[in-house]
Amino acid sequence: MTISLHVNGQAHDLDADPDMPLLWALRDLLGLTGTRYGCGEAHCGACTVHLDGRAVRACVTPLGRAAGRRVLTIEGLSPDGRHPLQAAWVELAVPQCGFCQAGQIMCAAALLAANPRPSDAEIDRSLAGNLCRCGTYTRIRAAVKKAAGTGGGP
C-alpha cells in the first residue's frame, strides 16, 4: 500500500508494507543511511529519529505509525551540520568509530528541544538507551552540556 511520509521536510509516497520498520524504509527505500541499524530491538538507540519532535527508535516504529507525521533524521537536523550539538560534538572530538553518534545526537536534540538546560541526571536518563561500545560517554555528556550552554569541556 502507499504510505505518505514526511521526512526532513520532504514528502514521499512509498509503496511498502505498513509493518516495515521505519528504519529500513529510511535506509533502504529512501537512502537515508545516517540512521543506523544496531540491534533492531530498541536496545541500542543507533536508529534514533524524531517523530513529531519526539525521539523514537526507528527499528521498532512501524512505517504505518509514521505515516502522515513529521520524521526528522540526522540528515535533516540542520542544513549545514552546524546544529549546536553537531558543533559541540566536533569541537570536543566525541566520535570514535562514529556508528552510534547520529543516534546519540538525535536523542540529545530531542532532549534539548524539550529541556534546554538539562541536569547531568537528566542527560544520563535521556541517553540511557543509546549504547556506545567505544566508550565516548564522558565526552557525550560534556558535548550535550556545551551545546546547552551549561558546561565547558570534558
Binding site: 551540520g81 572530538a93 570514535q96 567505544c134 564522558t138
Partner: protein, 764 residues
C-alpha cells in the same frame, strides 16, 4: 590489481594521476613508485606507507589501516604531513584496498604505530620532503641546507624566495631517492601540530550521518541477505522447508551455504540465506524458514560443566611455562599461604555495527566492500571460498562501526562473495545483533589459581600462577590442548615480579566455539587475576595495596627472559632490545596514577579506591577506580564514579586519540567487568541481544575519567588495547574496599554484594 608494481597500475588503482611524486617505504627503504618497477616482484619489498604529491600540490596519503574509532585516518596524514611540511588543508586521505604491497594491513594488536611503522610513516613524508628540497635547490641554485620545507612550499629565507610543492614534483620525481639512513627525520620539536590536539578527520561525517559504513554501500540490483547459521558450531542443515520464506513479499531466493570443513578458521559457518530486495523482507523470510539441524559434536557443551572443567584444570599441576627458584620449598616453608581462584567468562565483541559486507562477482572477478580490520585476509578468504586467485579479488575497506578484533575475521566477507556468485547479483550480507552475539569468535573463558607464600613479615616468598583457557589456536588447527607462548606472554611470562620463587603453569582446555582475540585478549584474564590477587595479599597482610604492588614489581630494572624464568618472551612481535620488560616503567605508572588519584589521602578520608596496573602490547598502564554505592538502577549496587588512568606508550603521535582510547578502554573494561558473560546451553550461545549481553550505559559511566599520558621519547607502543586489562581488577579491588566482598568471578553483576555500606577499616 596485479602484482605489477608499475606506476600506472598502482597509482590508477588509488585514483591518482601520473605525473606526481609518489613515495612508498618498506623495511626502512624509500621508493619512488616509478622506480618500484625495478624492484623485485617480492611483496615483502613493496611500499607500505605511501604519499603522493600531485602537480597541483594536492598531497594524497594512503591510509592502509582500517579506521574503527582509533583515529588512524586522522593520525597518519598528520604524521606524514608534518614530516613533509604540508598544509593540512591540502592533504586528502585515500583508503587502501587489501594488497600485500602495503605490508601488514591487519589493524589489530595495537600495531599501527609500533613494529617500526612509526619510523616508516615518517620516512615516507621525509623522503618526499628531501626530494622536493633537492629539486628546489637546483631550481634556485642554492644549497639544500639553506632551504626549509613548510606550509606546502620550499622557502629560501635569505632571498625571500619560495616554490610551492606542486611546482617541484616533476623535477623531484626525476631525482634519485636517498638510500636508507640518508633521509633525516625532522627533530620532533619541529612537528608542531603533533604537540596539540589534532582535528578528527571524520567527525563532520559522523555528526551529519554521511559517514559510510559497510551496510551503507549500495550497488545497482543489490539484494540483501540474512543467514540462518547452525546454532551449534559444526552443525549442518538436516531438513529445510523454505516455502513460507519464499512467499514473503520481496524475498527473491533462498540459498544454502556450504558447510565448513576442518578447523573453523575464517570459513563461513554454513546455513541458509534468504535474499531479498531489502533487509525487512530478508528478516521476515529468515523467520519463516523451517530448518532442523544436525547439531554435531559440540551439542553437549554447557556453561556450568565448561566452567567446572576449566577450574579442574587449574586445581592440579599443569605444564610449567615459567619457573624461578624452588616454589614447592618456598610454599612449604612459608609462614602462611594465600590461595585464590578466579574466573572470567567468555565474552563477545559486540561492536555497534554488526558485521556486514557487500560483494559483486563478475566474470571470474570479485569485488567486496566490508567493515574489515584486515582486507588482506579478507581477500585471501574470499579467493579461497570462490576458488579464485587473490589477484582477481578486490577488498574495499569502509569505515568500521567498531571492530575490537571481531572484524579481523573475514567469514562475513566470504559469505557475501559466495551468495553474490550463487545469486548472480550483488549481495549485501547483514548480520543481525543476535547473529553477532550467537556466532562470534569468543574471548576465551579462563580459570586461574594463584597462591602466594608469605613470610612472617608479610613478604611474598613464593608465587604460583596457573591458567587454563581454550586457546585461540583451536580455531585454526586441530589437536590444540593448551594456550601457547604468544598467549601466555600476555601477562604471565612477561610479568615483572620480584619474588624469589615463581612458577607459572598452563592447564588443558577444550574449545566448543570459535575462539578469537578480543581487545586486549588474554591480558583481560591474566590482568584480572594478578591485579585482584595482589590486592588480596595486601588485605591479607594489612598492607597498603600500592606499597605491595611496588614491592612485588620490584626495583626499576629490565627483566630478561632468563630473569623471569621463561624460555622466551614473544613480546607482541617486538624485540626485547627495543621494548624490554621494564619494571621501572610499570612502577612509574603505579606511582603516577596513585598520585593523581590522591591515593593515600583519599583512602584515609574513606574513599573506596582500587588499584591495578598491567603491561600489554609493550605499553604500561595504571588504573585507579573509585566506587560508590548506587542503588538507583537494577544491577550491581555499586558504581564507578571516577577513574584515573595513566599510560606510558612511549612516544605518542595523536594525544587526543590516545586520550579517547583510554576513556574508551575504561568504559570497555567496566562494561565487561560488570556485565560481560557469554554462556552456552546444549552447544548454543544463550545471549542474543543487548538485554542479555548488556554493555555499559551512560548512567553507569564514571563522572570523570582522568587520563594521563606519560611524556616519553621511547619507541611508540600499543594504545588501543593496553588500557583495558587493569580496569576490571581495579574496579573489583575498589568494590572490596567499599563492601568487603571480594569478587573473584566476573561479571560483577553475578556477585552478591552487601546492600548497605560497611564501616571502612582504618587505613594502614
Amino acid at each position: 590489481m596485479t602484482r605489477d608494481l608499475s606506476r600506472r597500475g598502482f597509482l590508477a588503482g588509488l585514483g591518482l594521476a601520473a605525473g606526481g611524486l609518489a613515495i612508498g617505504v618498506r623495511g626502512g627503504r624509500a621508493f619512488l613508485i616509478a622506480d618500484a618497477r625495478a624492484a623485485p616482484g617480492d611483496a615483502a619489498l613493496a611500499p607500505n606507507p605511501f604519499v603522493h604529491v600531485a602537480p597541483d600540490g594536492t598531497v594524497t596519503i594512503v591510509c592502509h589501516r582500517s579506521e574503527m574509532g582509533q583515529g588512524v585516518r586522522s593520525t597518519l596524514p598528520a604524521l606524514i604531513g608534518e614530516e613533509l611540511g604540508a598544509d593540512p588543508s591540502r592533504i586528502r586521505v585515500v583508503q587502501a584496498v587489501g594488497d600485500r604491497r602495503y605490508g601488514d594491513q591487519n589493524t589489530d594488536g595495537s600495531t599501527t604505530m609500533r613494529r617500526g611503522h612509526y619510523e616508516e610513516l615518517r620516512t615516507a613524508g621525509a623522503t618526499a620532503r628531501v626530494l622536493l628540497v633537492a629539486a628546489a635547490a637546483r631550481r634556485l641554485r642554492v644549497r639544500e641546507a639553506t632551504l626549509v620545507a613548510r606550509d606546502h612550499a620550499v622557502h629560501h629565507a635569505a632571498s625571500k624566495r619560495s616554490i610551492g610543492f606542486g611546482a617541484l614534483v616533476a623535477a623531484a620525481a626525476r631525482l634519485p631517492v636517498p638510500p636508507p639512513g640518508k633521509v633525516t627525520l625532522r627533530p620532533v620539536a619541529e612537528l608542531t601540530r603533533l604537540a596539540g590536539d589534532l582535528p578528527l578527520l571524520d567527525a563532520p561525517a559522523h555528526v551529519d550521518g554521511s559517514a559510510v559504513f559497510a551496510a551503507d554501500v549500495r550497488l545497482p540490483g543489490m539484494l540483501t541477505a540474512v543467514i540462518a547459521r547452525p546454532p551449534v558450531l559444526g552443525g549442518t542443515v538436516a531438513t529445510l522447508d523454505d516455502r513460507a520464506a519464499r512467499a514473503v513479499p520481496g524475498v527473491r531466493d533462498v540459498l544454502r551455504l556450504p558447510a565448513p570443513s576442518g578447523p573453523p578458521r575464517f570459513q563461513p559457518l554454513g546455513g541458509v540465506a534468504v535474499l531479498a530486495d531489502h533487509p525487512w523482507a530478508a528478516l521476515r523470510g529468515r523467520a519463516a524458514l523451517a530448518i532442523t539441524w544436525d547439531h554435531g559434536a559440540h551439542a553437549g557443551w554447557n556453561a556450568a560443566a565448561d566452567r567446572a572443567a576449566l577450574a579442574a584444570a587449574v586445581a592440579a599441576p599443569g605444564k610449567v611455562v615459567r619457573a624461578v627458584g624452588e616454589l614447592d620449598r618456598a610454599l612449604a616453608g612459608a609462614d602462611r599461604v594465600v590461595r585464590a581462584d578466579y574466573h572470567v567468562p567468555y565474552l563477545a565483541h559486540a561492536p555497534m555495527e554488526p558485521p556486514a559486507a557487500v560483494a559483486r562477482v563478475d566474470g571470474g572477478r570479485c569485488e567486496v566492500w566490508a567493515c574489515t580490520q584486515n582486507p588482506q585476509s579478507g581477500r585471501a578468504e574470499v579467493a579461497r571460498a570462490l576458488g579464485l586467485d587473490e589477484r582477481d579479488v578486490t577488498v574495499h575497506v569502509t569505515l568500521l562501526g567498531g571492530g575490537f578484533g571481531r572484524k579481523s575475521k573475514p567469514d562475513f566477507l566470504a559469505e557475501a562473495a559466495l551468495l553474490a556468485r550463487a545469486a548472480g547479483a550483488p549481495v549485501r550480507v547483514q548480520w543481525t545483533r543476535d547473529d553477532d552475539l550467537r556466532h562470534g569468535y569468543y574471548h576465551s573463558s579462563c580459570a586461574q589459581h594463584l597462591a602466594a607464600g608469605l613470610d612472617a613479615r608479610g613478604k611474598v616468598v613464593g608465587w604460583l600462577h596457573r591458567t587454563a583457557f581454550p586457546s585461540i589456536a583451536t580455531t585454526f588447527a586441530p589437536g590444540v590442548t593448551h594456550g601457547g607462548d604468544g598467549e601466555l606472554a600476555q601477562g604471565i611470562l612477561d610479568l615483572a615480579l620480584d619474588v624469589p620463587a615463581v612458577r607459572c603453569e598452563v592447564g588443558a582446555a577444550t574449545a566448543h566455539a570459535r575462539i578469537g582475540w578480543l581487545r586486549s585478549v588474554h591480558n583481560i584474564n591474566h590482568g584480572f587475576a594478578i591485579g585482584s590477587f595482589i590486592d588480596e595479599l595486601a588485605a591479607a597482610t594489612g598492607r597498603d595495596p600500592r606499597e605491595l604492588w611496588l614491592e612485588l614489581v620490584g626495583p626499576p630494572r629490565l627483566v630478561t627472559p632468563a630473569d623471569a624464568g621463561v624460555a622466551s618472551n614473544p613480546n607482541y612481535g617486538e624485540s626485547l632490545d627495543r621494548h624490554p620488560v621494564d619494571a621501572g616503567r610499570l612502577r612509574d605508572v603505579i606511582e603516577r596514577v596513585t598520585a593523581r588519584a590522591d591515593w593515600s589521602a583519599a583512602r584515609a578520608r574513606g574513599r573506596a579506591l582500587g588499584l591495578a596496573a598491567h603491561r600489554s602490547f609493550v605499553a604500561y598502564v595504571g588504573v585507579v577506580v573509585s566506587v560508590v554505592h548506587d542503588r538507583s538502577r537494577r544491577g550491581p549496587p555499586v558504581r564507578a564514579d571516577e577513574v584515573w588512568i595513566t599510560i606510558d606508550a612511549g612516544r605518542v603521535v595523536n594525544r587526543d586519540r590516545v586520550r579517547s582510547q583510554m576513556e574508551g578502554a575504561v568504559i570497555f573494561g567496566l562494561g565487561l567487568a560488570l556485565h560481560g558473560e557469554i554462556t552456552a546451553r546444549d552447544g548454543q550461545i544463550e545471549q542474543a541481544s543487548f538485554r542479555d549481553y548488556p554493555l555499559l550505559r551512560l548512567p553507569e559511566a564514571p563522572r570523570a575519567i582522568h587520563v594521563e599520558i606519560v611524556d616519553s621519547d621511547r619507541p611508540p607502543a600499543g594504545v588501543g588495547e593496553p588500557g583495558v586489562p587493569p580496569v576490571a581488577p581495579a574496579l573489583c579491588n575498589a568494590v572490596f574496599a567499599l563492601t568487603g566482598t571480594r569478587v573473584r568471578a566476573l561479571p560483577l553483576a553475578r556477585a552478591s554484594l552487601p546492600a548497605a555500606p560497611m564501616a571502612m577499616p582504618a587505613p594502614t
